[in-house]
């Protein structure tokens, strides 16, 4: 049976296409979170997603992340919810969204007259906007227009031998079609940086890749957090290199053509490493406080969807972009099947080969791009988190020329 690869994307002014047409409701400080949630809640089934930044103090990274997320191809319209006295550059964000051709509206709780009035006004705006968005212009979308991110969470001894290499094979198939694929977790790549560097398209990029992992190692060591733990050896992993190769196998075997930082869009198709460890001295705590912080960064780089490898069994999804769960452990899969999209554990049960599961992951990417809901989407998962960080711009050797 041949599976159709025909896709239709929601057309955006910048030429990019979305695989979803969501409305984002964004709180610009924690004080506006409840009001924003109350506005979005009744529309949960109709593709209205809640995102936001909780901090009151300004942060260039968070403002850039919000700008990239609000103008993400999967987002068709945005409602900003502000308390009124937070430091977030609301007008700048609103202007950037308007410039992108999207419907946008701001509600300032202190000006509209409090919680109840703001919720009413917000719901009215959403109602009108949803009606306006249908029908929405679409255009045929090709595989090379897709941007796919990958992350692992709740890993166990099976992750590195089933789900991760299967995602790597799916990445190879996608990249062969010209798609963009992004992997990350530089803190989990310690010990295989030289192997990774051999896959760089230029010598300068190879040096940058090694430096990126070095930065991560130093950052985590300063926080007193090593990568290889006793529990890893108890599960059968023997060395740092082995553990890192397990995580690294998600990247497949294509050439690495560049490094991105959170919010950077890839200028070409191909494989990219997302450097999510902050620059400069350690401040604001751990680089990413949980899996969803990493997912939000992959989405801010334009990822249409995320391939999430899990052994112990994560249940999360995400706001803005669908998450495909590739379950590494067959026992976990049978226990939590409702939350999973692909059972990579079949490799251990001898009912599928690595190549077959890799193909299945690839096909599930296409199906998701064609509109099929992933398990976490169907279950209503829309996790989102954004914290304080600091980044410097990319170095000159990090990106290929478009």
């Amino acid at each position: 049976m041949t599976i159709s690869h025909k896709m239709l994307g929601y057309l955006r002014q910048d030429g990019r296409k979305g695989i979803r047409n969501y409305v984002a409701v964004c709180y610009l400080v924690e004080c506006a979170h409840h009001v924003a949630r109350a506005i979005a809640n009744p529309f949960e089934e109709r593709g209205v997603h809640l995102i936001g930044f909780g901090g009151c103090y300004p942060n260039a990274y968070a403002e850039r992340m919000m700008r990239k997320l609000c103008t993400h191809p999967n987002v068709g319209a945005v409602l900003l919810v502000s308390l009124g006295c937070e430091s977030f550059d609301r007008r700048g964000l609103e202007e950037a969204i308007r410039q992108s051709g999207r419907a946008v509206h701001s509600l300032v709780i202190q000006q509209t007259g409090g919680t109840r009035k703001t919720i009413d006004m917000g719901r009215q705006w959403i109602q009108t906007t949803l009606a306006m968005m249908e029908p929405f212009p679409t255009a045929p979308m090709r595989l090379h227009e897709l941007v796919i991110g990958t992350v692992c969470g709740g890993s166990d001894t099976t992750s590195g031998i089933t789900a991760n290499p299967a995602i790597g094979l799916a990445f190879d198939l996608l990249i062969a079609q010209g798609a963009t694929a992004i992997f990350e977790e530089t803190g989990e790549l310690i010990g295989c940086e030289h192997i990774m560097a051999e896959r760089a398209v230029t010598h300068d990029l190879a040096d940058e890749l090694i430096a990126t992992v070095g930065k991560a190692a130093k950052y985590y060591a300063t926080l007193g957090h090593g990568s290889f733990a006793l529990g890893n050896a108890e599960g059968g992993l023997t060395t740092q290199e082995e553990k890192s190769m397990g995580a690294y196998s998600k990247s497949g075997s294509s050439k690495i053509c560049g490094i991105l930082k959170p919010g950077d869009a890839a200028p070409t198709g191909g494989l990219y490493l997302l450097d999510m460890v902050p620059d400069g001295p350690v401040r604001f705590g751990f680089p990413n406080i949980n899996d969803n912080a990493e997912i939000a960064e992959l989405i801010a780089c334009g990822s249409h969807m995320i391939l999430f490898s899990t052994g112990r069994g994560s249940v999360v999804g995400s706001a803005i972009s669908p998450v495909i769960k590739v379950c590494a452990n067959p026992q976990t899969y049978h226990r939590m099947a409702d939350d999973m999209d692909v059972n990579a554990g079949r490799i251990l049960e001898d009912s599928a080969t690595l190549a077959e599961v890799g193909r299945e992951v690839f096909e599930s990417v296409i199906a998701t791009a064609q509109g099929k809901k992933t398990a976490s989407e169907s279950l209503g998962h829309q996790e989102f988190v954004l914290t304080y960080k600091y980044f410097e711009p990319l170095g000159p050797s990090c990106l290929p020329h478009a």
Partner: protein
Amino acid sequence: MEFSSSDARLLFVDPKDNVCTATRAIESGTPVQLSGHTVFISETVPFGFKIAACKIALDDKVVKYGVPIGSATRDIAIGEMVHVHNMKSDYLPTYTLDPRDRP
């Protein structure tokens, strides 16, 4: 040289690997097929642990994912479990933590 096994209990991630992974616990004395030979597992190998697919000499690289993940600290026989008792990491950080960065 490429190693392989038709045995579902043994998983090779890459054809260049000289170790494979036990996809379920394998009792001591169990015969398995490795690279065309019948080999008896010398000690009980838990699920997820590694088994030598060929003889690995002292200081030889242990290869998984098609790349070295460390080296043998003694001679390892085919069918023997490979773990912290007979291999070690080769990883030498190219950077060290600046003492001033310590918390």
